[in-house]
Amino acid sequence: MNLNSLTIDAARSAVQDRKVTATTLAEEFYTEIQKDDPRIGAYLILSKDRALEQAGRMDQLVSRGEKLPPLGGVPIGIKDVLTTRGVRTTAGSKILGNYIPPCDCTAVSRLEAAGAVFLGKTNCDEFAMGSSNENSAWHPVRNPRDPSRVPGGSSGGSAAAVAADMAVVALGSDTGGSIRQPASFCGVVGLMPTYGRVSRYGLVAFASSLDHIGPITKTVKDAAIVLRTIAGHDSMDSTSADLPVPDYVAELEKPVQGLKIGVAKEYLGEGLDREVRYAVEAAIQKLESLGCKIVEISLPHTKYAIPTYYIVATAEASSNLARFDGVRYGYRARDARTLSEMYRRTRDEGFGAEVKRRIMLGTYALSAGYYDAYYLKAQKVRTLIARDFEEAFSKVDAIVTPTCPTAAFKLGEKAENPLAMYLADIYTVTADLAGIPGISIPCGQTRENLPIGLQILGRHFDEATVLRVAHAYEQAVAPSA
C-alpha cells in the first residue's frame, strides 16, 4: 500500500473495504519506520505489541462485517510527553528514562477507543522545552525535507513522522508554538485547540496555564477528525471545558464567503524572512479571492509576548518540575549520603541544560524580591495581550499570520544562543498566552524547497472557523483544484 499522503479516511476505508488488513497496514508502517527512521530520528519508543493487538481487534470487526469506528485501523504516533499505560514515557528526558506510566493520557485513550493503532512515542525536546528538537536527551530529529535542518520543536518527532509517512497522524503538545512551529517547518498541518478544549490529563506538565494537546496531520480534515475525537470534558482535568463539541468535519464545508479575516502589521514587520512574507501575502490574496474580506488590524502588544511568555512559562515550569526528585519515579543519582544530596544530584544528572536554564529563570522570577518585578508584571502584560485579541475579534472572524519568521534553520545554528532560539516562537506564543486556538497549514516553499507555514487564529472555542478557513485555503491551492 502506498503510505504516501495516506489520510485517515483513506486508511480506514482501505481496511474497511478489505484492501488491506489493519495488521498489514501497521506492519507496513513499521517497515517504513525501520527503513527511514535511522536517518530522521522521529521515534523514541515503538509499541508494536499494543499496535498489533489493536490492529487485530479492528480486523476482527471487519471480518464480522461490522463498521469500523472513525479512526479504525489508522496508525498514529504519540508525542513522548503524553503518558501511555505500560509503554515507556520519557518526555525526552533522562530523568524519566525508565518511567512506565500506570495510566493513559485521555487524548490517547480516546483515539484508541476510536480505533487508532498506536505505533510508538515520538521524539521531542526535553519536557517540550525547545524550538528545534535539539534538546531531546536521546537524539535530535532531522527535517525530512532537508536532513541538515531541524524539524522544529518541541513536537519535532510528531511533525517529522507525519511528513515522512511514518504515521498517518500524530499527537503533539503546544505551550508556546510546539505544534504549529514544527508543522510549519515540516510542511504539514498542526492544530492547537483552545485552552481547555482537550483534556490535559496524562500530559507531562510544562506550564499548566499554557499547555495544550493537539493533532499534527497531513490535511485539515484529518485535524478536524482528530479534534472531534479528543475534544470534550474530562473529569480528570478540571480545566477541561464542559462544552458541546461541534462536528468539526461537517463545519469544514460551510462557505467562507463574507468571513472577515484580520491581518496584523505587527506580524509582518522586522525580522520576517522575505520569502515567508511573499508566501503569506499570496495566501492572504488567495483568501480574498475566495470571498473573504481582508481587514487590517493591530495587535499592539505583540512585541512583548516573548518576554512575557518566558517569564510565565518558566515560573510554572520551575514549580511543575519540582516533582522530579528521585523519590517516587524516574532517575535517582547513586550513592547519595543524604536526602538533600540525593535531590540535587538526581536533578543535576537527570535534567539537560535548557531545562535547568528554565528552572533557574523561573525560580528567579518567583523568588522573594523579584516576584512583582517579573512574574506579576508578566501576568499583567498577559492581560494586555489577551485584550489585543478581544479587540481584534470584535472586528474579525479569524486572523492570518506567518507561523514562523523563517523556514527551518540548520541543526546547531541557534543551539548556543537561547535568546535567538526563543525568538523562533515570536508569532506563536501570543495564542498560547491568550488561550485562543490556532492552526498552521502549508503555504508554499522557499527557493530551497523548505516549507512555509500560514497561521490562522480564531476566537476562544471557535476551532470550527479556524478549520473552515484553513480547509478552504488548502482546497483552493490543491494541485487538483
Partner: protein, 112 residues
C-alpha cells in the same frame, strides 16, 4: 550585571540544583541576557491592569469584568462524597527507584 554568581548559587539552592562551576558561569551569562530582553516589559505601565494567571481568570463567570461565561466550568463545588479511587498501593510503588514494598526508601533525611 543584575544576576551575579552569588544570585545563581542562591537560586540553584532554591531549585535543588547543584550545577558545576562551568554551568554556573554559563547560567550567569544566559540569565542576564534573557532578563535584559525581559526589561522590554518595563516600557508598559501596568499599574491599573489585572494579572492573568489562568485563561479562566480573565474569562471566568465570577469576575466583574467578565467578557464571556464560556470558562464557567473552571469553577466547581468541592466534592465531599464519591471521590474517585486513588492509584493502588503496588501500582504507585512500581516506578520507585527504591522501595521496601510498603514505603518509598530514601537516604538519611537528617545527617548527624
Amino acid at each position: 550585571m543584575r544576576v551575579t554568581a552569588k544570585d545563581v548559587s542562591y537560586v540553584a539552592d532554591l531549585a535543588n540544583l547543584e550545577l558545576s562551576d562551568e554551568e554556573r558561569q554559563r547560567m550567569v551569562r544566559d540569565l542576564n541576557s534573557i532578563l535584559d530582553y525581559v526589561d522590554l516589559l518595563n516600557e508598559l505601565d501596568t499599574s491599573s491592569v489585572q494579572a492573568m494567571a489562568q485563561v479562566s481568570d480573565r474569562y471566568g463567570v465570577d469576575r466583574s469584568d467578565q467578557r464571556s461565561d464560556r470558562f464557567a466550568y473552571a469553577i466547581r463545588e468541592d466534592i465531599k462524597e464519591g471521590l474517585r479511587k486513588s492509584l493502588p498501593h503496588d501500582v504507585a510503588l512500581q516506578n520507585a527507584p527504591e522501595s521496601d514494598g510498603t514505603f518509598f526508601k530514601v537516604p538519611k533525611v537528617i545527617d548527624r
